[in-house]
């Protein structure tokens, strides 16, 4: 029986359909280490325990679960882990899977739940969650009145990384199934990232295109600039609605929120809906024909001009600089 530190923070690590630790794991363990002793829960292969240790887990609990049953077995495992570890807080990824588990667990145990945190902290009274709401227009801190705090953490929001633990204590977690009804998973089709470009969420640089591109074919200009900068590709809702690119590219209130070092908006007017998803970018560059486009109100460098002449010249100038 392993004893757990009094300041334990239980971290549920997502496991991908192919059985690896999800990319959110490093940030979750980094956040946990900043407020206590990270204890990882892995519902999956015990082999992943060493990897969790390398990302900072002081101890690891491993549980197995029926993958054909949607969500509920992981909630049962989390409940067993919390009973055993008695953590100050539970951190879960704000992923589709993580949100379901955190929501069901909090509802089942009547725990205080905070979602979409961009950071965590601790004060004299306990664990705090930090949020960036309304597209980054406000920062809000939340806390539980009492009890274990369940927090989902926005993917890619925490830069802190925990020190590697070379020999984490690993134990198997016995889980009593709750018997709560669950949906069945009939098949899983993993979407493999084939592009060499960075993923939009969490990218350091993003080039986004809007309706100003004019067509799906001309959207290639966005790809060319993205490749010249080593950036991820995004799009405004208008470009998605017009069918230039799939909806997974959409940056904004109803799409992906990004906070890159550099955000380049091409042919995007800057509707509030779009601004809400990117205005926390460190540097914003905009190119648009319309001098009155609202995007210019927040751009650090704005060019009023035809993007089909400006962007190729920009790519050429960047290439010349590299040469």
């Amino acid at each position: 029986m392993t004893d757990f530190a009094a300041d334990s923070i239980l971290v549920l690590l997502d496991v991908t359909p192919s059985g690896a630790l999800a990319s959110s794991s490093a940030g979750l363990l980094g956040a946990a280490a900043s407020i206590g002793t990270p204890v990882a829960l892995i519902v999956g292969d015990e082999k992943l325990a060493a990897e969790a240790g390398a990302l900072g887990a002081a101890s690891v609990l491993v549980a197995s679960a029926d993958a054909a049953s949607l969500g509920v077995p992981v909630v049962d495992a989390l409940q067993a882990a919390v009973a055993r570890v008695q953590p100050d807080a539970v951190l879960v990824s704000h992923s589709v899977e993580g949100r379901d588990v955190a929501g069901r667990f909090a509802a089942r145990t009547r725990s205080a739940l905070a979602v979409d945190a961009v950071g965590v902290a601790r004060d004299d009274e306990g664990v705090l969650a930090q949020h960036s709401v309304y597209g980054g227009a406000y920062t809000v801190t939340s806390a539980p009145t009492y009890g274990t705090f369940v927090v989902t953490v926005r993917q890619g929001a925490v830069d802190a990384r925990a020190e590697a633990v070379s020999d984490p204590s690993v134990s198997t977690l016995e889980v009593t199934a709750s018997g709560a009804p669950a949906a069945s998973v009939l098949s899983v089709d993993e979407v493999v990232q084939t592009s060499t470009r960075p993923e939009l969420r969490g990218a350091a640089k993003v080039v986004s295109g809007g309706r100003g591109l004019g067509s799906g074919e001309k959207f290639a200009l966005v790809e060319q600039l993205a490749d010249a900068l080593g950036a991820a590709i995004g799009a405004s809702r208008a470009a998605v609605d017009a069918g230039y690119v799939p909806s997974s590219y959409q940056v904004g209130q109803t799409g992906v929120s990004v906070s890159p070092q550099l955000y380049v908006a091409l042919g995007i007017s800057g509707a509030i809906q779009h601004k809400a998803g990117m205005q926390t970018a460190k540097t914003i560059v905009a190119i648009n024909k319309d001098a009155d486009a609202p995007i210019f109100d927040i751009a650090d460098f704005g060019v009023v001009g035809d993007l089909f002449t400006v962007v190729p010249q920009l790519i050429e100038a960047l290439a010349a600089k590299k040469a």
Binding site: T16, P17, L70, H94, S95, V96, R99, D100, A102, G103, A106, A107, R110, A112, L113, V115, D116, V133, Y134, G136, A137, Y138, T139, V140, S142, A143, P144, T145, Y146, T148, T152, A182, A183, S184, L186, S187, E190, V191, K205, S247, L262, A271, Q273, A276, T280, F296, D297, I298, A299, D300, F301, G302, V303, V304, G305, D306, V310, Q313, A317, K321
Partner: protein, 258 residues
């Protein structure tokens, strides 16, 4: 078949949205308030099924202040048969846990075979409510569905998960949430708007639902601090005179962004 659709009034994302820095609550006086689009799409899923299956009952359920009644009524104008709105001052600042308890109790009162919600509201972006309500109702959840097929005793669909598309199936009763990949909602027509005035619209309190809204009754998530980020200011703006691309490259290089 009885389908309950969870809907929510939110600040219009096409306008400015304001939080009161004293209370931390949304300022309802600023900007337009609208029915959340994802909830409208959820209602469209229910109405499309009802169109093809006579005898289907569709009800909208919402937790909101009095002032939101007109917004909830839009659900009736679109075609829902009845509405239930939970209105109670004790719910101001309710956390996710209390909100889930209230919605689950409201859904139980209405009765359901299937509950449909949007995957994430545009204001809170929590994305947890469907799973929470499912847990409290003791039924399966199938969230983030980009396709939905409602059968007599099951609901199936494609779940757009993290890095995977999965086919899932749940026996009814169940709670599902849907994504923006599903079709836009229909517009209420004049006939619908007129008919909405005659449809049942029930307003209930937490006491009616038998829910304890006392913050001491169980742990709450509370807001302890709030601050507005300073607005961004515009920087350099140039009009292209043939060398804007080169100037922009220079700006990026100087700021070590390439």
């Amino acid at each position: 078949m009885k389908i309950v659709v969870l809907v929510k009034e939110v600040p219009d994302t096409y306008g400015d949205r304001v939080l009161n820095l004293e209370t931390g609550l949304a300022d309802r006086a600023v900007g337009d308030r609208v029915l959340d689009e994802i909830g409208e799409r959820a209602l469209e899923v229910a109405l499309s099924y009802a169109d093809a299956h006579p005898g289907t009952e569709v009800a909208v359920v919402s937790m909101a202040s009095d002032a939101a009644a007109a917004t909830v009524r839009k659900g009736l104008a679109m075609g829902a048969g009845s509405a239930l709105q939970v209105v109670d001052e004790a719910l101001a600042g309710a956390d996710l846990g209390l909100t889930a308890e209230v919605l689950a109790a409201a859904v139980k009162r209405v009765g359901f075979d299937l509950v449909i919600a949007g995957n994430q509201s545009t204001d809170g972006s929590g994305g947890v409510m469907a799973a929470m309500v499912a847990e409290l109702l003791g039924v399966p959840h199938a969230t983030a569905l980009s396709t939905v097929e409602i059968g007599d005793d099951t609901v199936t669909g494609t779940r757009t998960s993290d890095g995977a598309n999965m086919q899932v199936s749940a026996p009814l009763p169940a709670v599902i949430s849907i994504t923006e990949a599903l079709p836009d909602a229909r517009f209420p027509n004049f006939k619908g708007i007129m008919a909405a005035k005659k449809k049942p619209f029930e307003t209930v309190t937490v006491a009616d639902l038998g829910v304890d809204a006392d913050p001491g009754a169980r742990p709450w998530s509370i807001m302890t601090a709030i601050a507005a980020k300073p607005a961004r200011a515009a920087g350099t703006k140039i009009v292209d005179e043939g060398d804007a691309g080169a100037q922009l490259a220079e700006f990026l290089i100087q700021n070590r962004l390439v």
